[in-house]
Amino acid sequence: MLSKLLKHEFTATWKVPVALDALLIVLGIMAYFVITGIPMVESTGVYILLFALVGIYYIGIIAANIIMQVYIVMRYHKNLYTEEGYLTFTLPVTTNSIINAKVIVGYVWEILSLICTLGSLFIAASGVLNSVDVSSAELQEFANELMSIFGVNDPRFITAMILTVVISPLSSLLALYFSVTVGQLWQKHKILGAVFCYIGLYILNQIIGQVSLFSSGFYGLMGDAATEFDSIFSTIYASMLTTTAIVQGILAVVYYVACIMITKKKINLD
């Protein structure tokens, strides 16, 4: 039954995420043409114009990502905890399947949005690089130096980066779902309950993040970095990303299990 739930979930939700992803790419292309079209001369007017355009571009990118998050979480709330829930929860399927379908589809849209955001930034950045007077050799040298500092060639860094990119969107998605699920336990003001829960989770997340960075020795490494910056920079980032990935992974599991348990044991459709 999970495959049927997935089919209907994708069918019901694809329009908004695809439109937002297309918008992200279009924004990147527009930024490219605007940036390459502006004459790069030292002038206050040009700087102001560039600053304004970059600002508008970033606001567009951030807005598209926020709308995506809101859309996904509203879909979850509407389909499970409003009148539509009367149909969803009377289907002959398990609660696990219902939640799994929402998690998988939401995660796919989140990852696609991330890819499109990175694609958009890449397109816009290539416009900047085309506009400035830098030779490809200089650019290559700069890129190599940057990659060396961040440890991009270090397998620990790469592994940690991949884990973080894969796990963090899942964790943030499940935090939203968990908040909505907890909110529906309230007799009244369920949406307010969900918002309070999310704010609480955000604060808790920050505290857990800081505590785990301390306990993983990240701040110790930062201290060392003051004297041996280049050699230890990649270690710092690998350590930070690994810790983040582990913490977010644990939180994702907790959110997921809690969503399933609450929905199974405490369903409360008014």
Partner: protein, 232 residues
Amino acid sequence: MSSLLSVSGLTKTYGNVTALNNISFELPGGRIIGLLGPNGSGKTTLIKIICGLLQPTSGTLTVEGNPIGVESKKVISYLPDTTYLGKSMTVEEIIKYFRDFYEDFDESRAYDMLGKLGINAKDRLKTMSKGTKEKVQLILVMSRRAHLYILDEPIAGVDPAARDYILNTIITNYDENATILISTHLISDVENILDDVIFLQQGNIVRYTSVEEIRGVEGKSVDSLFREVFRC
């Protein structure tokens, strides 16, 4: 007669308010049963618990021997007292949805009923009037060959002509071994199709009897007995 639905010691409380108070009853197959009571008597709470939309505080329920879950949902066809279908969906899309999830859904029966009412399956639900939406929902629910139909206020808020259509649809579209549980407070409209009635008052079952007995032994209509029992 074997039991289709068995409810034992069912209680549901909301804080200090008791919506259902330790009720027990059994529903046999092949009956049309009215779940009757004034507003706030616990009808909708009971129905939601049977359908798995609310968790009881205590007590047990089984449908054909199975606890509330996937197996019970396979045989229950539920019509809530509100529009519960995605408003941006077309009727055709909703039919596909039902066909995918309910093995007992009879697609041709659904299209046949839609055709008789002149409802275009390509129309979106949000473009329809309240009455038409309710008819579409009823058509979908009655197009299943379920064992237990649970209809929560199926005739509330529709005009008398639509009520006749709805009641006619109900009695002509269920298998004789199936049971229909209809919750309503519009007694006079439904009493002619009922076999049994359950009177619910403040979360307690105050009467569970056959309509034949009410009429034959007590010499009353269900409506007049209801008014007597629930007199304010």
